[in-house]
């Protein structure tokens, strides 16, 4: 693993840790942005440029803004009275440590069978377009329907209810 990729990974993990431990919700969201940007840079390091830029555009450009609006609309940016971690935090921590241990063991124990560096794949936007319109056209249409349904659903769920006249 080269030095820049190592640095970016450290930054991503640090951002994710900060996102899950800071007290102020907006600071958590900004640390999450750093984590997303780090993941996008890791995608770029893996020669997946389209996915990397789509990650920046969708996650940093839309999901983070959505979370920020939700934080402001639910007044979560004020510090909570009872602390920002749940009463059962130790169990959660133990579970996540266990999950990481299992996943890490699975990766490291099978390191002999994994393929080594292959040549960079020759991917350009033409091929992605052909794939989207050819082999993957059904998932594309389903995702379009899903996004429409999600948009309408989110608006209906979050809309102000009409005042009941009794």
């Amino acid at each position: 693993m080269s030095i820049p990729i190592f640095v970016i990974s450290v930054l991503t993990v640090a951002g994710a840790l900060a996102a899950m431990t800071l007290k102020n919700t907006i600071h958590c969201v900004l640390a999450l942005t750093v984590a997303f940007a780090g993941v996008a840079l890791l995608f770029l390091g893996l020669d997946a440029q389209f996915v990397g830029f789509a990650q920046i555009l969708v996650y940093i450009g839309a999901v983070v803004i959505l979370v920020v609006f939700a934080v402001l609309l639910t007044r979560s940016s004020e510090t909570p009275e009872e602390g920002s971690h749940s009463r059962t935090w130790f169990t959660g921590l133990a579970i996540s440590a266990g999950v990481f241990a299992v996943l890490g063991w699975a990766v490291l124990a099978s390191v002999n069978g994994l393929p080594n560096e292959t040549a960079a794949p020759d991917v350009n936007v033409h091929k992605i377009g052909n794939a989207l319109m050819g082999r993957y056209v059904l998932p594309l249409e389903i995702v379009a329907l899903l996004l429409t349904a999600a948009t309408i659903g989110a608006v209906i769920v979050a809309m102000h209810e009409k005042a009941r006249t009794k």
């Binding site: 994710a16 958590c28 990650q55 971690h85 959660g92 579970i95 990481f100 995702v143 989110a154």
Partner: protein, 103 residues
């Protein structure tokens, strides 16, 4: 350690951090943030396997990751809409306090 193994370890670490955050934080929005981190870790896994796997020219991993990004964005939108609706009803986003079905 092969490059693939290092990327998979980073993804596993991100997943564990997201899971830990989703299980330990009080605010519903921070739980959703943890879920987004987990989805990102899964995408990283997909792209790492696409790049170092046997047939990268089939673009399967990349397509899967693109659709996963789209679905995650839709899920974040609906989830946050739900959080806003619940806040309007219960005046709080604290998940420890939402322990009854009846409002």
């Amino acid at each position: 350690m092969t490059p693939l193994a290092s990327y998979l370890l980073v993804a596993a670490l991100l997943f564990a951090i997201g899971l830990g955050g989703a299980l330990t934080r009080r605010s519903a929005i921070l739980v959703l943030i943890g879920i987004e981190l987990m989805l990102n870790a899964a995408n990283l896994n997909l792209i790492a396997f696409w790049r170092y796997g046997p047939h990268p020219e089939a673009l399967t991993g990349m397509m899967f990751a693109i659709f996963s990004i789209a679905v995650a964005a839709a899920e974040a939108a609906v989830g946050l809409g739900l959080v806003i609706a619940i806040y309007r009803h219960a005046q709080t986003t604290d998940v420890d306090k939402m322990n009854r079905m009846k409002g």
